[in-house]
């Protein structure tokens, strides 16, 4: 409830001047975590959402994952497949196309919570269910490409793909499903599997989970309780019980933290940065605060079909007259790095030499003059036809932080003669109608989240512009068309050696920074708030949450 949250936040801040009593001493073998979202499903392969990823991080381990160093690593596999170690082999598909055969071997001793070993049969079932599109798994591209499943050993799986990409070693969402529990349900009625799966009807069944913990209790909409998985063979978890509670209203979440009802707030789904910063000022001595810059890229998409924005000089004038560094300093206490392209500085493929646009209103004015926009009597510029330099500026209504940023940017642009009309919409309408159907006239501020070295094909390739014919899929909302960018986006996935990809990435970032289909703002930081007695939590900043390494979390001795 964003409106209510916005009202409550300042009230809470003002009233918290009263001294808070220290939280009651908590038993150190249990941990209560607050998050702001409840998962729509617990099934690992249906729908992707942050709350589900966070909770499943405790109770499941994927085949492969991105580590805290942002490099691909094994989850439950023994060795990451590479061409060099022979676990990945280039080949030709039966219809004569270049293909690849990739083999993963499951770690020995891995068991489901009911003691059944995790085997290749569990991955075979996941592959079969994913290939049967009526099952209703979300993105089906992986399963379309993986045209054959082979298994020469109970712990070994080989997939044959009809396309070769540098991400061949990543199993992505392809995760083992307990065939001994799920296969019969799926075979009985594939279309109804989504609702009949034990992940929904019998969520506390230990056999569904293969991580250090298992889900022991579920309160729909309110939270889950986790208990150790007795068959886990990795490092023993320190906590006998973990509760993950959902409190959507962030002032209420903060109140529960201060009242000692929850021990920590997960940064992946926690307080907005400005609320966490205010809390740190008031209660910095009671908790550990960690601000983790991540892959959430805040930016402003520019509709390039708008004749004003089709002119690159206007786009460059917009970024030159946006004081992003000042906004980051004032609103976000310099906790979020200013973005100069769509690639995060923490990503190994980031180019530190990419063009960095400074705050330079004088140069912005000069560019606008050059583009034919002259100041009118009211300070707003006009072109030769007398049209005003006016742009619609949209974002998600109720997001206080974005609305503040919007006001500051609009004031800055007005200084150089650009009129901005703010027209915000509720997130659901904004994302699913206005953006995805490209109904925004000028500028749209929002964020993208991606994984490390994620090729931005869906946002920048000219074939990814959403249209009715494409069922509005694709995320090139700006309508960006650039033949060289298309070429790079096609070559990048097929370039298997990282060293060969780096120049392509550099060129991609250079084109992005020069052409500015979007105005880069900053990369958002997650605010993690932990109790003083907890150690070992290592946030990643990307899609794989810190809970995937929760067995390393320990009470401080």
């Amino acid at each position: 409830m964003p409106g209510l949250a916005a009202l409550l936040r300042p009230l809470l801040a003002a009233l918290l001047l009263a001294p808070a009593v220290p939280a009651a001493a908590q038993p150190r073998d249990s941990l209560t975590i607050g998050i702001t979202q409840y998962p729509a499903t617990f099934h690992p392969n249906i729908e992707s959402m942050a709350a589900k990823s966070y909770i499943l991080g405790f109770v499941r381990r994927p085949l492969t994952l991105y580590g805290q160093d942002w490099h691909l690593a094994c989850g439950i596999c023994e060795t990451l497949p590479t061409l060099e170690n022979g676990l990945a082999v280039l080949e030709t598909t039966p219809d004569g196309r270049p293909g690849i055969r990739v083999t993963w071997r499951i770690r020995e001793g891995l068991r489901w919570g009911d003691g059944t070993p995790v085997t290749a049969e569990d991955l075979r079932f996941a592959w079969e269910a994913g290939r049967a599109f009526e099952t209703g798994f979300g993105p089906a591209e992986f399963y379309r490409r993986a045209y054959e499943f082979l298994s020469a050993h109970p712990r070994e799986v080989t997939l044959r793909f009809d396309r070769v990409t540098f991400e061949y070693a990543s199993a992505g969402d392809f995760q083992p499903l307990p065939a001994h529990l799920e296969r019969s349900i799926w075979e009985a009625d594939r279309r109804a599997y989504r609702s009949r799966t034990r992940y929904e009807t019998d969520t506390t069944n230990p056999g569904l989970w293969n991580g250090p913990w298992r889900i022991a209790a579920v309160q729909p909409g309110a939270g889950v309780t986790l208990e150790p998985n007795p068959h886990w063979t990795g490092p023993a978890p320190a906590f006998r019980r973990i509760r993950v509670l959902t409190v959507e209203n962030t002032p209420a979440l903060e109140a529960q933290l201060l009242a000692g009802q929850i021990d920590m707030i997960a940064g992946e789904l926690g307080l907005p940065l400005e609320q966490a910063l205010a809390l740190q000022r008031r209660a910095g001595n009671r908790f550990q605060f960690h601000f983790q810059p991540g892959l959430i890229y805040e930016h402003i998409d520019l509709n390039l079909e708008n004749p004003i924005l089709a002119d690159r000089r206007v786009r460059q004038a917009l970024i030159l007259s946006a004081d992003r560094a000042q906004i980051v300093a004032r609103l976000f206490d310099n906790r979020q790095p200013v973005a100069h392209s769509n690639v995060n500085p923490l990503d190994g493929v980031h180019d530190p030499e990419v063009r960095q646009w400074p705050f330079d209103p004088a140069r912005a004015r000069a560019l606008l003059e050059e583009a034919g926009w002259r100041p009118g009597p009211d300070g707003i510029r006009r072109n030769a036809a007398g049209e005003r330099l006016a742009l619609d500026f949209m974002t998600t209504a109720g997001n206080r932080s974005r609305e503040q940023v919007q006001q500051i940017l609009a004031a800055g642009w007005r200084q150089v003669g650009i009129e901005v009309r703010i027209r915000n919409e509720p997130p659901r309408v904004f994302f699913s109608e206005t953006l995805s159907r490209r109904r925004y006239g000028g500028m749209a501020m929002f964020a993208w989240i991606s994984s490390p070295e994620s090729v931005p094909r869906s946002t920048l390739h000219s074939e990814e512009i959403p249209t009715a014919e494409r069922n509005w899929s694709g995320q090139n909302y700006t309508g960006f068309r650039h033949p060289r960018m298309d070429e790079l986006l096609e070559r990048l996935p097929e370039t298997l050696q990282r060293a060969d990809r780096l120049p392509l990435w550099r060129e991609l970032q250079a084109i992005y920074a020069e052409e500015l289909p979007a105005i880069p703002l900053w990369f958002r930081a997650d605010a993690h708030i932990w109790p003083l007695w907890l150690e070992g939590v290592r946030p990643t900043g990307h899609l794989n949450p810190s809970s995937l390494w929760a067995e390393e979390w320990r009470p401080r001795r």
Binding site: L11, S195, E248
Partner: protein, 318 residues
Amino acid sequence: MAPAAMIRLLVSRLVQMVLTLAALSFVAFLLIGLMPGDPIAVAIAGDPRLTAEDAARLRALHGLDTPILARYLAWANSVLAGEFGHSRLFARPVADLLWPALASTLVLLGSAVLLAAAAGLALGALAAARPQARGVVDALAILIASAPTFWIGILLILLFAVTLGWLPAGGQSEAGGLDALRFLLLPVATLAIAGLAAWARHAASALAEALAAPWILSARARGASRARVLWAHALPNAAPPLLALAALDVGALVGGALVTETVFARPGMGKLLYDAVMGSDLNLALIALLLIGAVTMAASLAADLAQRALDPRLRDLA
């Protein structure tokens, strides 16, 4: 009230309720169904890996590729057959979600109404019996009526949970029993305080009017004590308008319950309905809305029947 008249009234009101619920379901289905952003559009916007093919497949799977009227008729048929369907948001049968949420909200609402009524009556009686206290009660009522529910809630949290640490700041008890009562206290107090003002002002007016009636003078002349006059003679005569207020209050409190359940992160019907509407969970939203409508109408009917039982002048009205 004669049994035949009572049955006539009940039947006519039940028919009205059914028709109202049918109309409500149709209008709500259309409104929610026509809201921008179906679940697949939301999913496409959030996941770049979903292709045009995936979008078409998922729309068909969710039955979103059929006209809205056909979807309504299919839904209505299922509901009439007792099949409430599945919640897309919580991936569970709707019935499994509704009953615990309804029970939680009814406990919250019931306790809040009782507390608000008791405290409001006490304040109203004070104002009616002692005219010099009327100004204070009125001022208190205006103050409370001006305070938004969420503000009252957050104040109580700050005082009793954050500063004093006596009560939980929100959520629900795992243990049940007395522990559940601790979790209930602040939400109930919030909602009761919010409803208190209306009760106090209405009780003061109704009791003042009753106390001015000739039979009160007669009771006093017979030597009845001040308390007996107030509670045994004036209150029963002031009760019918207060019962009407109680019926109206249930509807208002449902709105208050949404805010209270949100501020206290307490699962209930208000929060469930809000989550369902915001999450495009049409099935859950509709059933939750109808259930809330049915509860409100049932409360109104109960108050109506009680009013007629108490007030002989209403008994012959259809």
